[in-house]
Amino acid sequence: MKAHKFLATGARGPLSGFAWPTPRGDSKGTWVEAEGALLQCSRGVHVCRPLDLAHWIHDELWEVETSGDEVDGLDCIVVRRARLVRRMDAWGVNGRQRFASACVEHAAAQVTETVADGVRQLLDDARFMATNGYVTISAYTAALAVGRIVSQEPSAYRREREWQSAWIASELLATHMPTR
């Protein structure tokens, strides 16, 4: 199965520091495999489906190939084994900047004149961060602003994150975004 994974610069796990084997020439990276029963956050290789992407934004975006058994996790899927196929160059400076701007504009379109000052402040913060290249926190703050609009339904934050994920999938990965 094809999936994606955000990594820190140098193909490292953002939180674990794990150094992923990278592709060499025409060869894909070496398989990374988990042993024992798969368990979210504990055991298994964690990768993104298209709708999970916005929750795990980081420096590099990779296409990965997975195989074996798998279990659903919160905003991820846990698989038996995975290997890096290619780094997605579309997630470069320009792609990231376009994404951040799109997140801010999409959030701003939902902010009416009647929203609380706090929401407007969050949106201003998101715009400032996007302008200065802080893509991850900008997208998060934009979604937070939408989630704090009183008139929005309780799941507005997650819905906005799904919209952001769909944007990455369709605009940068040319991937069809399945609906829930």
């Binding site: 939180l15 919160l74 926190i137």
Partner: protein, 91 residues
Amino acid sequence: MRVRDPEYLVCREVVEFVSDFLSSAMAPDDHARLEQHLLVCPPCAEHVNQVRSTIAQLGTLRRYTPPAPARPALVELFRKWKQERDGDEGP
């Protein structure tokens, strides 16, 4: 113990749950939410790294048993410190 908001958590909760997080004692979904927070909050990520590093360093310390003659003095020292801290004059 579970995080308060089912969608995302705040910095205070990272401080509250850091031990559970590092010992993998959190519910999987809460663990994932905390990881998501660390990705957008460098100060919290630094805090978690510092706690992780402290735990690792403490793990390298050798267990030391003080010589028997020193124990009464140590116990007395601890008692005095505790009294001063608690403002308790004792019996």
